[in-house]
Symmetry: C2
Subunit: 244 residues, 2 copies
DNA sequence: GAGTGGTCTAGACCACCAA
DNA sequence: TGGTGGTCTAGACCACTCA
């Protein structure tokens, strides 16, 4: 079997434009929240028609890398205004009501990658990482315990003071202070008995069932930049997801 | 506040075309698996340009209502070939390996809707339903117990014999035998202690943590046509979902 | 080779927003 | 009022499938 046959021999123009745009995003030429050049300007810059640029931008917009706003322009997507985002936090009150949540930091400390963290973050075992433990409170009740592991190289300087001073989501902190923009993630869910230490923090019985949510989040170039294990108390709230 | 202001006063042409296409799908003018008329034919039928039809079809294709196949045509999406679909069944081996699963029917019987089923299916309490209990086995191991409730009106005649004779997924049965095509669903996940009866079937300890997956599935006109509560044994397999 | 979807263009006009 | 994205058109040509 000829391997070459499996490689797409043909890349449409808009796909190439898309790749160029992603490069500009990844390199930081346009920063989160900023407006990118207009479609007509990009078209003339790349020597293609506006329709071709448009199709490239369309796809990046559906991928949530760009945000279009009619009459204003096209902007680099940002986590800056994430407060009650449905995108990366899927826990919802069972009755569907909206409520704000808050965060309480437990610990933030440098550490070294164990075998599991190393595999998930695709770094060498024993290399530097930053570990964060925190609680998320919904309507004052602690419902989620998160254990977050970040590669030390990209996040050097991250400490408890920085987190506690930050107003906003974790991902907006990563984006603003460290230039790491997480754009997609994969979650693996299991049901587990509550470990004793976590049960105490979530005010539930030890060994009562918790939803364990293991997440790996990726940045522009598909490099994993966060590994996270969450324990969710689902007594009053549900993890909601759509299939379509 | 004037309510009219909230109603979009303007509907783009391709949106109207899209609605017309959905009507044809919902009415059964084109059946699952069949080819719909070509873009140029639809364009002349509706009196618009091919590009406008194209945009409408594009959106229906990303919604998984239609399937485009270059050089062949555009087809109505179907569950007919669902075997290891990643779309509605998200349980995966922890190591990511692919494996086939099989189903074992426990019970299929007519019943009446309780308050919960009635609310979920938007039917009157006490109206006829069909209840199904079954196990899903992965590599021979029973990992999922499903309790499925269907509105009796649309599924009259569904019985154990029909299910056991059927080769293929539940949704392909619904589609082929009852003309009910489920196109999207919402799942609510919680962690629960295994009820005794289910623990026996999933060969796990009573009260050991299970992942409870409650699903409501909808057909073309957003009418709920299935309510399902699954209990997943996640000891060796994970419920996998993407955030992007 | 005929028919299908896929790409690309050039240009017109509309809807929205900010100054 | 000018600039932005959003829609729509008409037509050319390319890539793919199948008879």
């Amino acid at each position: 079997m000829n391997v070459k046959l499996a490689i797409p021999s043909y890349q449409p123009l808009y796909g190439q434009i898309k790749a160029l745009l992603v490069n500009s995003l990844a390199s930081g030429e346009w920063k989160p929240g900023e407006m990118i050049p207009s479609e007509v300007e990009l078209a003339s810059r790349f020597g293609v028609s506006q329709g071709t640029v448009r199709k490239a931008i369309d796809e990046l917009a559906t991928d949530n890398l760009l945000m279009r706003r009619q009459g204003r322009g096209t902007f680099v997507a940002t986590h800056a205004n994430d407060t009650n985002t449905t995108r990366f936090l899927r826990l919802r009150a069972a009755d569907g009501s909206e409520e704000s949540h808050s965060s309480r930091l437990i610990r933030c400390a440098p550490s070294v990658a164990g075998p599991r963290a190393a595999a998930m973050l695709q770094i060498a075992e024993g290399s530097a990482v930053v570990e964060i433990d925190r609680l998320l409170l919904f309507a004052g009740e602690p419902l989620i315990h998160d254990h977050i592991v970040l590669p030390g190289e990209a996040f050097s300087g991250l400490d408890a003071a920085a987190i506690e001073a930050w107003e906003g989501s974790m991902y907006s902190l990563f984006e603003t202070r460290f230039g790491v923009r997480l754009i997609r993630a994969v979650e693996h869910l299991t049901a587990v008995p509550a470990p004793e230490s976590i049960a105490a923090l979530l005010t539930c019985r030890p060994d009562s069932p918790l939803l364990a949510v293991e997440r790996v989040a990726y940045t522009y170039d598909d490099a994993p930049m966060e590994w996270r294990v969450g324990h969710y108390n689902t007594a009053t709230h549900h993890y909601v997801t759509a299939l379509d």
